[in-house]
């Protein structure tokens, strides 16, 4: 029997809201799925599309991007800029065949520890249902293999 599929999820979060929310989930002893690797950044405005591509390149099955609610950005409007960027990037990924369901976006404030825990659980389940991102993994495998001719 092969091992059951455990999704690998990379989360890019802003330090002021979502990361603090994750902290709160932790200090509140809320249990959530261990499938997410969190990468903390100063602001959602700092989350470059490159990060998403890099996570996929390293074999992620799903990606979460999360930051402060609109109006709450520590840098006033970093998240507004980010929102536009995601809107466009999401459409581009979808058009090139990277399923929208694999890349999730959320606003989680420092007070929303519970929302964070729930979200992680839900996302993990969603990605688990989708299964491993085989199509992309196949491309990664190709890069590990001998030249074809």
């Amino acid at each position: 029997m092969s091992e059951p599929f455990e999704p690998k999820i990379t989360a890019f979060v802003c330090t002021y809201c979502t990361y603090a929310g994750a902290d709160l989930a932790g200090t509140s002893r809320l249990k959530y799925a261990p499938n997410v690797r969190i990468i903390r950044l100063p602001c959602t405005g700092r989350i470059s599309p490159m990060f998403i591509l890099k996570a996929l390149q390293k074999g992620a099955d799903g990606i979460l991007i999360s930051g402060c609610h609109p109006g709450d950005c520590h840098f006033t409007h970093g998240n507004y800029h980010a929102r536009r960027r995601w809107m466009v990037f999401r459409a581009l990924l979808s058009f090139t065949g990277i399923p929208e369901e694999r890349i999730k976006y959320s606003w989680i404030s420092a007070a929303e520890g519970l929302k964070f825990a729930d979200l992680i659980n839900n996302i993990t389940e969603d990605i688990r249902k989708l299964g491993p991102f085989d199509q992309y993994h196949k491309l990664i495998e190709e890069t590990q293999a001998q030249a074809s001719l």
Binding site: T143, Q144, A145, Q146, A147, S148, L149
Partner: protein, 337 residues
């Protein structure tokens, strides 16, 4: 009487070669672009093309070749070497310019240090060239002292029959003879006349150009700026060229494990020669175009006694701004008069 391979027997040949463990490769269409690629049957081959969009070199020198896999611990570095896929292969339907291109690059890859990625593939490939009965306005093999039926670099030369029903078979090398021995019973003796090869007009005088290029005074001629003013610095001419061989070595992966690869690189790129200090010996596009021409028609022949150009014309055919070797050498021919 000559040996003839009739078109309707080609599929059986492909089958025979494949069942003998050979990879059969030939010109095919892939998503609106033509390349040399492996085929399972003769029906996949597109033998009516003047020339494939991409050259034959990638069968010997792929655009990205994994060379080493590394895994690092504090105590040791473990490396696995990738070798090129082994096993005999037959490339059916090459063009004379492409096959010559391979022979042109052999001395480069074997100069002192022997590049096994190239030579293993070279030693295991039989190249079956079909003489050209058509050409387009970009073809220029005759200007390079080659021709639509040059045998340079080929193991077998096929000459299309006048009636288009097959090819006369000329066995050129032992490797070619060996490969065709296995299909000997599928060939027939016949006297069908071969169609005339296409006439490719001579477009420039390569010798005169070489003389002009060798003159140190011309290195800083205004000509280089003028001829390359519209060059946008992409690498399509070099990447499609059957003889351009420049490459880069890149590590992909992380600090602990990954793969070292040999990737195509191009002298047209600004970063190609850029030093870490920021100094760039070839900092302008005109200097880079001059390098490309000088390399092909002055430096390379000086070292390996052959122009690094087989006249396929792909550089001009695919150039986004309608440049290419032909125009440059035509202009040099004029200057050298």
């Amino acid at each position: 009487m000559t040996k003839i391979l009739f078109t309707d027997k080609l599929d059986s040949c492909v089958e025979r070669w494949r069942s003998a463990g050979m990879t059969v490769i030939g010109p095919v269409q892939r998503a609106n672009s033509s390349v040399y690629d492996a085929v399972k049957s003769a029906s996949e081959l597109d033998l009516n093309l003047v020339l494939t969009d991409r050259s034959i070199k990638e069968l010997f020198f792929p655009q990205s070749e994994p060379m080493l896999r590394y895994a690092i611990t504090k105590a040791e570095i473990n490396t696995d070497e990738f070798l090129p896929p082994s096993g005999p292969r037959i490339i059916f339907g090459a063009r004379a310019c492409d096959a010559s291109g391979l022979a042109i690059d052999d001395p480069l890859f074997g100069w002192d240090y022997k590049d096994e990625y190239w030579f293993q593939r070279r030693n295991e490939s039989v190249i079956v060239t079909i003489a050209c009965t058509k050409a387009d306005e970009f073809c220029m093999c005759t200007s390079l002292k080659l021709s639509p039926d040059s045998t340079k670099g080929s193991d077998i030369l096929l000459r299309p029959l006048e009636n288009n029903k097959g090819w006369q078979v000329e066995e050129l090398t032992d490797r070619g003879r060996e490969a065709f021995k296995s299909v000997a019973d599928l060939l027939q003796e016949g006297s069908d006349p071969a169609a005339a090869t296409v006439t490719v007009p001579e477009k420039f005088n390569a010798d005169a150009c070489a003389e002009w290029l060798k003159n140190p005074e011309n290195f800083e001629s205004r000509f280089w700026k003028e001829i390359s003013a519209r060059c946008i610095g992409c690498g399509s001419c070099t990447y499609l060229c059957p003889t351009c061989h420049c490459f880069d070595i890149q590590d992909e992966g992380g600090s602990f494990e990954g793969i070292r690869r040999k990737n195509w690189d191009s002298c047209s790129f600004a970063l190609f020669t850029m030093h870490t200090s920021g100094h760039n010996p070839r900092s302008t596009q005109s200097a880079r175009w001059r390098q490309r021409i000088m390399h092909k028609f002055n430096y390379f022949p000086g070292k390996f006694s052959a122009n690094s150009c087989s006249g396929c014309g792909r550089c001009t055919r695919e150039c986004p701004v309608d440049m290419g070797i032909t125009e440059t050498l035509q202009e040099i021919s004029k200057l050298s008069q």
